[in-house]
């Protein structure tokens, strides 16, 4: 499959602090990639650069052959760590909002997923618990037929039962041929579904490889991660 993402010498600074330093990577279409690294290593900054939420200070990011901007946002579906939905809207109003703005949004799929998780469509967002809001947000993001999904800590605030649902949803998108980049600390939970892994350390990409190759060596990504990022 052709490359869906090309990152060349990407640099991002916050004042004097360099959050991403000369990062380069090419990602093929139709893969599930784990973006792994300790806190503050630059994972969220990397995803935000791809989503067009940060202006890069150097290098180039191409998504589906285009520079990050209005056109790439049509094919990128981003799930941030934070809840960004309007708290005064109801769930169904939020669905209608996504339907209006994203041509690739599948309303039926979103409604079916909400039903599976037992979320009341007429409930106001502000009345939902933090975990339920995160589920709604995930459903909205995953109900798009985007080429590239960027998921920042999608398993963070949800219960173990919902985690399984989320992983299944990611697998469904994989079958559809989309590329999914998942940033997470919960490596054990996602390892089984990953095709490739990226390690981020000290604001640089330190490793990028196939999960299958790791498994063939009798190792696990989780074990490799613990080895690479040992704190003592």
């Amino acid at each position: 499959m052709p490359n869906v993402l090309e990152v060349k010498n990407l640099t991002k600074r916050y004042g004097k602090f360099t959050a991403l330093d000369d990062v380069s990577i090419s990602v093929e279409g139709g893969k599930i990639i784990g973006l792994l690294g300790p806190n503050g290593s630059g994972k969220t900054t990397f995803l935000k650069c791809l989503a067009g939420l940060l202006t890069i200070d150097g290098g180039e990011v191409l998504i589906d052959g285009k520079k990050v901007g209005g056109e790439t946002k049509k094919v990128v579906s981003f799930l941030p760590e934070r809840t960004y939905l309007d708290s005064s809207s109801t769930v169904i109003e939020t669905i209608n909002f996504f339907k209006e703005f994203y041509d690739d949004f599948d309303e039926q799929k979103a409604c079916a997923m909400l039903e599976t998780l037992g979320v009341d469509k007429n409930a106001k967002m502000r009345t939902l618990s933090k975990g339920t809001k995160e589920k709604v947000q995930l459903i909205l993001v995953m109900s798009r037929n985007a080429k590239l999904f960027l998921l920042d800590e999608p398993l963070g605030g949800v219960d173990p039962a919902a985690r399984e649902f989320i992983l299944n949803t990611i697998l469904t998108k994989y079958k559809d041929g989309s590329t999914i980049i998942v940033s997470t600390h919960l490596i054990l939970d996602v390892e089984e579904i990953l095709d490739e892994y990226i390690f981020v350390q000290n604001n640089k990409l330190t490793a990028y490889g196939s999960v299958k190759a790791i498994h063939e060596q009798g190792k696990t990504v989780d074990g490799l991660f613990r080895e690479a990022f040992r704190c003592f």
């Binding site: 916050y14 939420l53 940060l54």
Partner: protein, 270 residues
């Protein structure tokens, strides 16, 4: 996409704004009626030679009642700017700036929606004042067209002396300038402040308004003091309006450039 965002932003405030517009009208009607009644009561006591201080006090207090109409307008403006702030400077910005269009388009559509609502509210403010005056003078001045005469002003004074068209043009430019300036303050403060963003934004708005007030009043005082007489004739009025328009339009252009090219195009959502 521009129209989609504009329509969505405009509609998102529709319900709240309709309520506040209705409140403004009710406030104008009630205050106009109460003022009318109290004035009539005070005049009756006066004619009978009874000076009821409570009535006089109440009547003089009611002379401040137009302030309530202004307060409704200020509340409306706060709601409109708060919506803008929420969509570009809070967590909602994650949604705003991942919608499928470039960041400048997002900003422009939201600004246009803000401007539309502000103009609607300014119009409502004027209507509310007129309604308040008419209701407060019913029974005393009739027909209503004679209201200007009641204050010793003829309609020709209003249309010729105050250069109505130019005045309205200047007012429109001033409103646009104020809106651009406040949006600039919101975006800059939210970009610079890492913590206490709302406080920083309010502080920055006060600061920018203060500096602007000082600058504009200095310019106009200089202009007025250079005239031979304080009587504003058509020539001086036109000059002031032209000069004011140029100053404000320059301000709008500079701020708009900084907003579009610097703040929005080089976006960094925290």
């Amino acid at each position: 996409m521009f129209l989609k965002v504009y329509r969505h932003e405009f509609k998102s405030l529709l319900k709240t704004m309709l309520i506040t517009l209705a409140v403004g009208l009710v406030v104008a009607l009630v205050l106009g009626g109460v003022t009318n009644f109290m004035r009539a009561l005070a005049e009756r006591y006066n004619e009978e030679g009874q000076y009821n201080f409570a009535i006089i006090l109440l009547t003089s207090g009611l002379s401040m009642s137009p302030m309530a109409i202004v307060i409704v307008f200020i509340a409306q403006a706060i709601i409109i700017f708060a919506r803008f702030y929420k969509s570009v400077a809070t967590d909602e910005a994650y949604l705003t700036f991942t919608l499928p269009s470039d960041n400048v388009t997002q900003y422009r559509a939201r600004f246009l929606s803000l401007l539309s609502w502000i103009f609607i509210c300014v119009l409502a403010l004027i209507i509310n004042f007129v309604v308040y005056r008419i209701v407060s003078l019913i029974g005393r001045v009739w027909p209503v067209a004679e209201i200007f005469g009641y204050y010793g002003i003829s309609l020709s004074d209003v249309f010729d002396g105050l250069l109505l068209t130019e005045g309205i043009t200047l007012a429109i430019i001033f409103v646009i300038f104020e809106c651009v300036q406040l949006c600039f303050a919101i975006l800059l403060a939210s970009k610079l402040a890492k913590k206490f963003k709302i406080g920083a934004t309010i502080l920055f708005i006060f600061l920018i308004e203060h500096v602007e007030g000082m600058l504009l009043s200095s310019i106009f005082m200089l202009l007025l003091s250079s005239s031979v007489s304080w009587e504003i004739d058509a020539r001086i009025g036109t000059a002031i309006i032209l000069f004011g328009s140029i100053v404000l339009l320059s301000g709008v252009s500079i701020l708009w450039y900084i907003l579009s090219k610097r703040l929005v195009a080089n976006l960094n959502v925290d």
